[in-house]
Amino acid sequence: MTFTYEIEGGNFSRAGTASSDIKKALKQLDLDYTIIKRVVVSLYEAEVNIVAHARRGTLTADIDPDRIVMVLDDQGPGIPDIDAAMTAGFSTASSRVREMGFGAGMGLPNIKKNADSLNIQSTVGVGTRLEIVVNF
């Protein structure tokens, strides 16, 4: 079963809408709450990344009985150094974004911590594609 969402860059007030929706679906499947939490936390971080850095993006979440695969594709600045971005505390967020309580440099590390697999492809000046998998 597939869920698709558009994510708008800069719209912080809407950040978390997709993860909230996915959470509701997973609760209906009666998954273990620790698994739901891992999905929701990693998806929320990825959503906020798009809102904070990119112009726009899409999320496609595929749920099947064994796992959820979440693909987030954005049109944005891209990540010049993925290894650096994966380091806890490393952040390129603007001071405006930081003032809103985001951009602490924990996004990608937190996704990696919560996901069973994380795949990042990025082209500077074009965009970033995240594939996050959580097994049930």
């Binding site: 079963m1 978390g16 993860s19 509701k24 209906q28 499947l29 009666d30 929701v40 936390v41 929320y44």
Partner: protein, 451 residues
């Protein structure tokens, strides 16, 4: 199916099937069928929103008959501070106590006397507890049930500590036993503003015997006490406040919003109103908030001052309690320590809640594959539904109807928009749609032209 006691009952003879309760219920526990509201036991959290909104008082709160107090030799009225604040401040606590004694109680004990112990234990739990933060207070039983049915992932945040009610009841039993009263001779009756408290007492979590013998609704005792107060306008002017064990100034406010959280160190917050709490728990589940140590969550607006069985305006009640606490604080310097300091060691072990289990109402099926299949069906159905949430199908909104259809509790044609669509296509005769509507709303709403 449900092993949970509910205090809220719908009286069919009185219910007019108006659906106000269905639309306000925070857990979507009500449907309308055959012109009557129907309660889904496994979803109801006894918050009382339906009781409040019912225009014809068709929803009642089950209680124990007042006459049940009399077979006991010692008849204790366990009364919350909210009760005393139902009356204008010209009636002193001593006088209201006197009126309760005249009704037939032999002792009156204020529940907030138990708050001191609970505060002490809450602080201890917070100091010990690192993993389960924020701790969610279990003071409000409707909130405990809300978390169980709607936020099963947060159940482990619920603080495993009983409320001041239990502490006060256990303490007073001990107190009477010390004076030679046996367990059988002692009847402890809780005068309550709250449907959820009744439900919790009637179905204690681990099947242990409740220290409370019976529950009497506050509105009933309010009426009885009002009569006594008016009949004896001249007497008891000198009724003495000292005959009652009085809680401290902070404890008096325990049942009001911020009553608990203001007494707890650390990062804490208080929220009242069941819909406000629900919105916040949605966020908390997603960890979108900075870490809190302690959350005080209450189902009623203005917490217990807004309890469903109160009579007085909730803001007036709260203000009277605050004014009492201010006065009490001013007197406190010369006060004797509370009698509640005795028996701490006997009572403490009895205040722990062993376990609170999730009982999700969200899950579509025990089997994951089946649940996924149902979820897909719900999405397909939702695409056909008008999404106006009119409730004319007898379910609280389009999402709820889609779930009801998939779970076999309703059919597509319950939706009046779908009926029109089917009629246009010649798939449904108008007489048949009329029958369907009658099955939901009762025949008289359709047949009776002069209603």
């Amino acid at each position: 199916m449900s092993d949970f006691h509910h205090a809220l009952k719908i009286v069919d003879e009185l219910c007019i099937g108006c659906s106000k309760c269905m639309n306000i219920c925070p857990t979507h526990a009500i449907r309308v069928r055959n012109g009557k509201a129907r309660l889904m036991d496994n979803r109801c959290i006894d918050c009382g929103e339906c009781y409040r909104i019912c225009p014809v008082s068709a929803i009642i709160i089950e209680q124990d008959d007042f006459s049940r107090i009399f077979p006991f030799k010692y008849r204790v009225a366990l009364v919350p501070a909210v009760f005393f604040a139902q009356f204008p401040s010209k009636y002193s606590i001593g006088r209201i106590t006197q009126a309760l004694l005249e009704l037939g109680f032999t002792h009156v004990f204020e529940i907030e006397n138990g708050a001191r112990l609970i505060r002490q234990e809450t602080r201890k739990l917070l100091a010990e507890n690192r993993d389960e933060k924020p701790l969610i207070s279990t003071f409000c039983p409707a909130i405990v049930r809300l978390v169980q049915v709607k936020f099963p992932a947060l159940v482990h945040h619920l603080m495993l500590l009983k409320p001041p009610l239990d502490a006060a009841a256990i303490w007073f039993r001990h107190h009477l036993e010390q004076q030679g009263a046996s367990r059988e001779e002692t009847g402890i009756f809780y005068v309550t503003q709250c449907a959820a408290k009744i439900a919790a007492i009637k179905s204690p979590a681990e099947g242990e015997a409740s220290p409370i013998s019976g529950v009497i609704n506050m509105d009933e005792i309010y009426n009885k006490v009002s009569v006594k107060l008016q009949a004896a306008e001249e007497d008891h002017a000198q009724a003495n406040d000292k005959q009652v064990t009085m809680p401290g100034s902070a404890d008096v406010l325990w049942s009001l919003t911020t009553g608990e959280s203001s007494q707890i160190p650390g990062k804490r917050m208080a929220i009242d109103g069941v819909h406000n709490v629900t919105n916040f728990l949605e966020k908390l589940e997603q960890e979108e908030h900075p870490a809190f140590d302690f959350l005080e969550l209450r189902a009623c607006d203005e917490s217990c001052a807004g309890g469903v069985l109160t009579t007085e305006n909730r803001f007036l009640t709260a203000e009277r309690m605050r004014s009492r606490a201010r006065k009490c604080a001013a007197d406190e310097s010369q006060k004797q320590p509370s009698a509640m300091l005795y028996f701490d060691h006997e009572i403490l072990p009895l205040l722990t809640i062993a376990e609170i289990k999730p009982r999700s109402m969200m899950k579509l099926d025990e089997d994951m594959g089946e649940a996924l299949r149902k979820m897909k069906m719900i999405r397909q159905i939702l695409q056909m539904l008008p999404m106006v949430d009119c409730g004319a199908c007898g379910s609280p909104g389009c999402q709820a109807l889609a779930e009801d259809i998939v779970q076999g509790r309703a059919m597509m044609e319950n939706c009046i928009f779908i009926q029109r669509r089917y009629e246009q296509k010649g798939m449904l005769k108008p007489e048949v749609s009329a029958e369907i509507v009658k099955k939901i709303w009762g025949a008289n709403k359709i047949d009776n032209e002069n209603k």
